[in-house]
């Protein structure tokens, strides 16, 4: 059985609710790291960190450059920066051009995570109104990682997961309501 060491969850319009439902399903004994990359308005600043922290005892942290990626932590991509992953499993931030009109771009992070984590990576694409994340997900697959999409029928804005499903064979298509249990199952595998 394959154990993930990093889960990257990407989402855009309509994804926040799903993320809010996933967070309480995860306990402080989280054995891997989770990174959440969602498109958000710069003007809302860091309120997301507080919003999510209120729902869990797991440590929630907005990514700072050169932070080591540690199990037991849920990381959030900061507004207006791309998040990349270095060979030594630390984060770096990047303020280059927007990709798919987005910064942070989900494509950029999926791709960079795949480069370093390969088969130890699982990527999850949630509700959203553009195709950001799909190209990155293709690369994750190429590198042997797992790919998961929210069932478009249960997405507030189905475009993003729909596109992923059209472009590749998705390992798991999960309805919004079952996403918390699914992620929990992914995190807490039975002992090897």
């Amino acid at each position: 059985m394959r154990r993930a060491e990093l889960i990257v969850i990407g989402g855009s319009a309509g994804s926040l609710q799903v993320i809010m439902s996933i967070i309480p399903a995860i306990g402080p004994d989280l054995p891997l790291a989770i990174l959440v990359v969602i498109h958000r308005n710069v003007d809302f600043e860091s309120s997301l960190e507080e919003l999510l922290s209120a729902r869990t005892r797991v440590s929630i942290k907005e990514v700072e450059e050169k932070d080591p990626i540690l199990p037991g932590t849920i990381y959030l991509a900061p507004a207006d920066y791309h998040v990349l992953i270095e060979d030594d499993r630390t984060f770096s931030l990047d303020y280059s051009e927007k990709v798919n009109f987005s910064r942070p771009s989900i494509d950029v992070t999926f791709r960079s995570a795949a480069e370093v984590y390969g088969k130890k990576l699982v990527c999850v694409l949630l509700s959203g109104g553009n195709a950001d994340g799909v190209e990155g997900m293709l690369y994750v697959k190429e590198k042997g990682g797992g790919v998961v999409a929210q069932d478009p029928a249960t997405a507030e804005v189905p475009y993003m997961p729909q596109h992923a499903i059209i472009r590749m064979t998705i390992d798991f298509i999960v309805p919004a309501g079952e996403m918390p249990a699914f992620i929990k199952g992914l995190v807490y595998l039975p002992p090897a």
């Binding site: 700072e64 060979d87 770096s92 990047d94 480069e115 690369y139």
Partner: protein, 275 residues
């Protein structure tokens, strides 16, 4: 699109460039650099790494393009308005007490931040006794900075930033719009000096009361960051200020204990204890 350049190949390339041109990218953050190099590689449709490498080694013009494309040149005027508000309210009044003000924008790209600063200085009545140095590794962006011509399409955003930063004039009074271009006022440009400068290898060239280096250090590895922090430290007068990007900090640097942060913004003041 698949990854055409691997980490190991990038290392080979970086060594080549250092030997051939003296440009040292070996201490740049690798994930970001790899992404930029891969982007260039597919943009220019190289069939193989070997051909890419050969071209870079033998065509200095192409190496110029490499520097232009691989370094990040995204910038805007008055980005993070609250940062500029703090400059207006807390930093400029202190700088006003100096007979002559020297400011260095390190890694200024196309110069938007230098023009932002000039506007602030002008409004504080300090521009006449100020000199703003803008430097960047990339000669092409420096040329753009010198011209002071930016797309009109950006002006609405900049005008909003300007108001949020505490500006009370009409932002459009600072430029003349001509079709899709906005040319900034010559009275601003007159106080600026632009030059190419490589933070990796170059030494201190002056003493400043304020150094700004925003969203540049995120592209450097820790060791290179430390080197650059030392360069800034040598180049700052005592009680001078160092300003960084929203996600950067001097916290883990060798100079941290001699600097005090000003409020919540990423601005630190150099304070050498005496006695």
């Amino acid at each position: 699109m698949t990854a055409a350049i691997r980490y190991e190949e990038m290392e080979i390339l970086l060594n080549d460039l250092f030997t051939r041109y003296g440009y040292d990218f070996t201490e740049y953050s690798k994930a970001s650099l790899l992404r930029r190099i891969q982007r260039l590689f597919s943009l220019d449709k190289f069939p193989s790494f070997a051909e890419f490498r050969h071209r870079l080694q033998h065509d200095p013009q192409y190496f110029r393009r490499f520097v232009e494309e691989v370094t990040v040149n995204v910038t805007e005027m008055l980005r993070d308005p609250s940062f500029y508000r703090t400059l207006r309210t807390s930093i400029l009044p202190v700088l006003a007490t100096y007979p002559f003000i020297r400011i260095w924008h390190a890694g200024c790209s196309t110069g938007e931040e230098v023009y932002s600063m000039a506007i602030l200085l002008k409004e504080a009545g300090l521009l006449h006794k100020s000199l703003l140095y803008g430097t960047d590794i990339n000669p092409q962006v420096i040329e753009k900075a010198r011209r002071g011509i930016f797309p009109v399409s950006q002006m609405q955003k900049y005008s909003e930033n300007y108001i949020q930063s505490g500006g009370i004039k009409d932002f459009s009074s600072y430029y003349t719009a001509n079709y899709h271009l906005a040319k900034f006022d010559g009275s601003l440009t007159g106080k600026m000096i632009f030059s190419t400068h490589n933070l990796v290898s170059d030494f201190s060239f002056n003493e400043f009361q304020l150094i700004l280096c925003r969203n540049v250090l995120i592209y450097f590895e820790r060791h290179l960051q430390a080197k650059v922090f030392k360069l800034f430290d040598y180049s700052l007068e005592n009680f001078g200020y160092l300003a960084l990007g929203a996600k950067e900090s001097i916290r883990f640097s060798p100079i941290a204990d001699r600097y005090k942060q000003i409020g919540k913004e990423k601005i630190w003041r150099k304070i050498y204890e005496t006695g």
